[in-house]
Symmetry: C2
Subunit: 312 residues, 2 copies
């Protein structure tokens, strides 16, 4: 919560711009000096700032990722990861454990505004991940039809289009979310190769056939049976020999490592009716049952997600 | 939030009682196996449980403090530290920083139910702190009149009464809170030496004179001027040579160490109009301005709070 407050106040950006004391920062942030001092002290305790006498400075990490002056700025993520919906989902963890799933299901409602916020907030991080993953998935030239399922911000499909100037992308998501993906595609200069396909991923006709179906951060919202059924639908939209590519948090078989990937299961417990952070063995079983073959898991450097690829 | 959920489900207690797998625990907790598995994995990631194959076990720390079978059980603290009021206070940190204080002031309302929850939830921890602090403050025999201001659970005054069988305690707090303190005094077997004084600490006549006025975890809710005025009121209720004893989180002069004590300032920013985690130098100034002398800061082993004593 403190972190989100600091992002909203653009505290890191103002420090990067030369303001150092609570008094200077309070003027910049149009906030109280006392409030700024207490928040900056808290961020120092957490390791996001350094403090010498009464002057605050950025750590290398906060400089790179939390100042809006940095090209790698990721502060917008707070808008999705720490928004009211997420906090509300965690309000009654005991209740979700008793039920075995979310007490509310707003996240899966048609055209939920949550996913517009997601598309806006998470785009910078997704752009980095997409850039790292694209070379693993597509050649850098040659015609390629790609379906990006539940595209959200669109950055995964857009990364493929940037990596391969002959690739054509179909971005599928709710109509309100696709407006964000469309804007990102145009900003990335690949708008002419970007089509949109609005509707429910479970109900809309995917068209095709495609060479590659991207399924980024989507299958974890559903139970294995629903995900398997969905993978079948993806397979039907692929050319013979075409591939599906899941981009997912994949914990080890012990389900308690690596920490961030394994911890994601709790977010799925409180936020979805039956989602989970599935292991590779579980994804193997789902893909097998959906008729895929030759599955493998790929890792890109410095990326917490894994890419699971299988052949139709 | 996960931690609070686990306490509500009595997960740690059921593991202590011999249930080890998610299936066994789900039966005990009347919860879903899937939910229990995900929560236990999360608690394992956080270091509160261990996991071997599919069996969960307590760490030494969770065994000592989170199983209701342990005499040192502190799990009730979640009821105050992670309740809806606290979470709501942190909902808009940027807003509190702009304003320089809490956006709501429910915590300081007369007879706020927050302090009844506080008195119930925090009693076990306060009993430990009180037990450690009592030998620093009172002799183990001899008549002694002690006022416990904003007594809450009453455990600090009760600890003094247990340490000194001749001490008589006056517990002051809101009427609804004092019902909890009264019950604790009776449970501790010192009810005959426990008087209650209901009302606002700022407005009620303290009576006296007292040998010792305890002010535990109270001054941090107010600005220095209000705290100084309040200390004057305490001084007026003391015998000549009597002492005031603050029990407080006291950060170092750099305000970013030790971590827990310094971080407490943020809780005061978002939860009170003008409270803070004050340094020893700041308390010295307030006590001096209130007419006290010979102030010193005492530390008890393994206790995060400090005791600041001064002579009237």
């Amino acid at each position: 919560m403190a972190f989100k407050g600091a992002i909203e106040l653009e505290l890191f950006t103002h420090i990067d711009g030369g303001s150092a004391t609570a008094a200077e920062l309070a003027t910049r942030c149009r906030a109280s000096e006392r409030g700024v001092r207490i928040l900056c002290d808290y961020l120092t305790i957490c390791g996001h700032l350094s403090k010498q006498q009464n002057a605050y400075s950025l750590t290398p990490t906060s400089q790179a990722f939390l100042s809006k002056n940095s090209p790698a700025y990721l502060g917008s993520m707070a808008g999705f990861l720490i928004n009211g919906f997420q906090v509300a989902a965690f309000r009654d963890v005991a209740g979700a454990v008793r039920k075995g799933g979310a007490l509310g299901t707003e996240a899966l409602d048609p055209e939920s505004p949550i996913w517009v916020e997601f598309a806006r907030s998470m785009a910078p991080l997704a752009a980095m991940i997409g850039g790292a993953v694209a070379p693993l998935l597509v050649p850098d030239a040659g015609p390629l039809q790609i379906l990006d399922v539940a595209a959200g911000h669109g950055m995964y499909g857009i990364a493929m289009a940037r990596h391969n100037p002959d690739a054509e992308i179909t971005g599928q998501d709710w109509r309100n979310v696709l407006e964000v993906a469309r804007a990102h595609a145009d900003q990335a200069g690949i708008g002419a190769r970007y089509r949109t396909l609005p509707g429910s991923a479970f109900e809309v006709d995917f068209g095709g056939p495609y060479d590659l179906v991207l399924v980024p951060n989507f299958a974890h919202h559903f139970d294995p049976a629903a995900a398997t059924g969905f993978f079948k639908k993806c397979r039907a939209a692929l050319k013979p020999g075409g591939r599906i590519a899941l981009i997912e948090f994949v914990p080890d078989e012990d389900r308690v490592s690596p920490p961030a990937q394994a911890a994601f299961a709790l977010t799925m417990l409180v936020g979805t009716p039956a989602g989970d952070a599935y292991t590779f063995a579980e994804y193997e079983a789902m893909l097998r049952d959906a008729g895929f073959r030759d599955w493998e898991m790929l890792a890109a450097e410095n990326i917490p997600q894994r890419v699971i690829v299988a052949v139709a």
